[in-house]
Symmetry: C2
Subunit: 274 residues, 2 copies
């Protein structure tokens, strides 16, 4: 599926930054604990100073001495030698929320993009929340209508950064009523598993397996099992009919095989890789 | 499954009362058109005069000459001879929204309840919206937490009026992010199919088959297909893990067999009974 070696930490947005901080602490632990070197990537947001400062504060609170922000507001920024150097020296990189199209258009194909891919192959821990979660896949949701039944054209898709193949990721999932838009996305691309990640919830991906951490759950929507759809006959805004979608709901501690498209239970469900 | 002969019209709330009025017109058509005799049951609401008057206006607009409201604010009301008479003379009965527990506690076991069951066996058209939809089943959702992942105890269930067996009905489904609470309900009662009905959307049930009408869709959540759940180990508010739930999404014109637990496609999908 992917050549990534370093774990991915994909967060459904609104992760706790004040109390237990389960998700951000786990990201730090994976990155090397207090000795980790964290880069906070603020490329997705138009408020890089405010958003960056908040994460620097939090990571310092957790005990990381070496934490810095790196902002990219033009493709030139992402092609500078300093950009690659920042990634090469980091043990963990964290993408904040904002607009996922800013990430793909400002970072895509730059030398910083290449450095991230290389870093990942060498064990770099790569994390992203909200927009920073959506961009992780090869096909991403750019925007869509919430709190509706699945309809043709209610979700705009675009190529993502390809850190993780075979999935489409949606965030703020239960909190913003996004089942309809995720179903609309995977009905069109049934090869892709839909991952609906709740707020303050994350998946840790290692190879083709992920484990859930945090307060909510991850809903896996598998349209590969579709027995029926009316997709061929539809025009813009027409309602989708879907028969036989598989749905799995995984809270913290549960693991899922992206290759087997199945929840892992029993002995293999809570430890190590498959 | 059920002995009902008259069709049930089960509405997900907020049905259009100003423009096309697709659902309310279909209810009137099934009840006999302009010659139908409609009773609006306001038992669920604490504002029976306002709510009743609104529906009387709408049904008169549609062309029904014989429309009246019947309110039940005590069990005595529902045991009066006039209560049975109202039902016996009606060709269509419409339950408004409000609180589904008012329906079951004020109406349950009264002679009006019996008259409704008898009427249904004889072809009476029975409709309900929102609370009036929830009460239709043998087990109903009383209240629950929305916009959350499925958790133990987030949904309160109670016996319904048993007009339709084998299902649990939720309304305002996509609009209020109720996937989590419907999953919580059916995970505990996997024999029951979960029907999540969107706003301005309805099912017309005949025997063990239903057809969808209206603007949104009906999501059928089938936990009978569950491959895994952690239900046995859970305490209050713990998160559910569910593997292998089946999900079907049906917009207007699509039909579903409650007995086969499957979407009906092809020739049998849009006409007559199965």
């Amino acid at each position: 599926m992917t050549k990534q070696k370093g774990p991915l930490v994909i967060v459904g947005g609104a992760e706790d930054k004040k109390n237990e901080m389960t998700i951000l602490r786990e990201f730090v632990r994976l990155s090397g604990g207090t000795h980790s070197k964290i880069v906070v990537m603020t490329v997705a947001t138009k408020l890089p100073i405010e958003v960056g400062a908040e994460y620097v504060d939090v990571f310092e609170q957790i005990g990381v001495a070496d934490v810095r922000t790196f902002d990219v507001s033009s493709r030139e920024d992402a092609n500078r030698a300093s950009a690659c150097k920042a990634i090469e020296e980091a043990t963990g990189v964290f993408f904040t929320g904002g607009d996922q199209l800013r990430i793909t258009t400002l970072l895509g194909g730059t030398s910083m993009d290449a450095a991230l891919q290389t870093g990942l192959e060498q064990g770099l821990v790569l994390a992203g929340t909200s927009a920073g979660a959506s961009m992780m896949s090869s096909t991403m949701i750019v925007e869509g209508v919430a709190e509706t039944n699945p309809r043709m054209g209610i979700v705009n898709m675009a190529p993502g950064m390809e850190f993780l193949d075979g999935v489409v990721i949606d965030q703020h999932f239960a909190q913003r009523g996004r089942l309809g838009r995720l179903l609309s996305a995977v009905a069109q691309y049934p090869h892709h598993l839909g991952l609906g990640i709740d707020e303050d919830t994350a998946i840790i991906v290692r190879g083709t397996t992920f484990e859930v951490i945090g307060r909510g759950a991850v809903s896996v929507v598998d349209a590969g099992a579709l027995l029926y759809s009316n997709l061929q006959e539809l025009r813009h805004n027409d309602a989708l009919a879907l028969g036989g979608v598989q749905l799995h709901v995984l809270p913290a501690g549960y693991r899922f095989s992206l290759r087997e498209r199945a929840l892992l239970t029993g002995q293999d469900s809570r430890s190590g890789n498959v």
